[in-house]
Symmetry: C2
């Protein structure tokens, strides 16, 4: 299970303030904490400060990689910001979050990913209305995977995100996403699937419980990556348990070790 | 989600002691607590006291139904015990836990279920080695469902239990069971699936976490009943969350109500 650590994101107040103040210490503390908690990639998102996104994303890359050897996940919809940040990346390959099927963004992010040999998070999102059903999500995933592999990407370089929407507005969105994950993993053996979790519980109570429940079900369909907060002990415990329950942890040794190390919140 | 409350089971020390002492108060306290916690059925299991199982199961039925209006789930592999207990049942229909494909047990439990118009938990278990793969479980489920419907049972009267085995000895058992549940629910629309949870985590640490993780994934494949401890707040919270996440709780109103009533342990 690949864990992309999500905390360095300008949508969080503390990170936004640290960006505005250029407070490297605050950012680096988050990077170290997520590294220690088991992050495989550390996501960096510089937000949407008008005109300053390239500069801020580049600053985040240099600030974070000064204190961790974990690879980075460059999180921006803006090809200009990615273009500013990619040449600075030390640990290779980085992950780009994200490409989608909007024609201009697809072409520009694809070119950057090829140039810098980056892996890609590919969102099931085109120009039209969001894909609500499992079938629509799988159709977009198929188009993404086929176009990216034709362009030279290995399946192992592609992390498909079927995009889950808030349950409060579409009570079938999580189930559609979960079923799409199962179908994508069956159709393209070797590709990865990934999701962020926070969207699904937007506006609801008990958000972390809902997020964990969605994550566990997605893992049962083969999802092998997630954009999460690795410092959330209950979430990491759910991942340990899910690996054991879904047969990805031979003799449950990973779970037993994590438990013995005090890292499982039962 | 149908909740069969599991606590009145002679495999538990306190229940065994209460049975030996004919301590009706101790049994009735468990019955009331499970009723209040949201049990739909209350399981009664009189254990395997040699020769005394009919008498003890009958005593449990009368003891429990003196304090609850919830229907009972008569839990015994012994047709003689079921025959002693079934005529005493007040709230109809009861659930029989369980029938399987062993020829003698199948015929005798079937006759009792027909005579007393009981619903049936049908275990995916024949005379041979236990069914390990999803395919083997589905084959046994198919035989059970076809034989029971030919005998006059409606699909709605049948709760198929694919039988999960401990992960510590078969790390693929939970995933096989989960996939079998999905296949059974698709093949026989209207039938129910059910599982006990304690087996899956036998011998492992963090058992309740493992049990919840398995339950959530099984629910994501359509499992609509479970044999659980309804007084376990974290487990019930996981069920509330799973109903919302898997689109079985329109506008998440059930989850929101449970949260507002303080019944969700996030």
């Amino acid at each position: 299970m690949l864990i992309v650590a999500e905390r360095i994101n300008a949508s969080r107040k503390a990170i936004r303030a640290a960006l505005e103040a250029q407070d490297a210490g605050a950012i680096q503390q988050e990077a170290r904490a997520q590294d220690a908690a088991g992050a495989d990639y550390i996501d960096v998102n510089g937000g949407t400060f008008p005109g300053r996104e390239p500069e801020l994303l580049a600053w985040l890359v240099e600030t974070v990689q000064a204190v961790t050897d974990k690879p980075l996940c460059l999180d921006s919809p803006d090809p200009a910001a990615l273009a500013a940040a990619l040449p600075l990346v030390k640990i290779r390959p980085p992950l780009i979050n994200s490409i989608n099927l909007e024609p201009d963004r697809f072409d520009r992010v694809l070119a950057l990913a090829l140039e810098h040999r980056a892996k890609l998070i590919a969102l099931c999102q085109g120009e039209g209305v969001p894909a609500a059903s499992a079938g629509e999500k799988v159709a977009l995933a198929t188009e993404l995977v086929e176009r990216l592999t034709r362009a030279g990407f290995a399946l192992d370089d592609i992390y498909v995100d079927p995009l889950v929407f808030p349950l409060g507005t579409d009570s079938q969105s999580a189930q559609a996403t979960i079923e799409a994950i199962g179908a994508i993993m069956q159709r393209f053996p070797g590709v990865h699937t990934i999701c962020g979790l926070t969207n699904v519980s937007h506006g609801l109570p008990a958000r972390k419980l809902i997020n964990r429940t969605f994550l566990v079900a997605a893992m049962s369909r083969g999802m092998d990556a997630a954009i999460v907060d690795p410092t959330d002990a209950q979430l990491l415990s759910a991942i340990h348990a899910a690996r054991a329950v879904f047969g990805r942890d031979e003799f449950c040794m990973g779970l037993i070790e994590a438990f013995q190390a005090g890292r499982v919140a039962a």
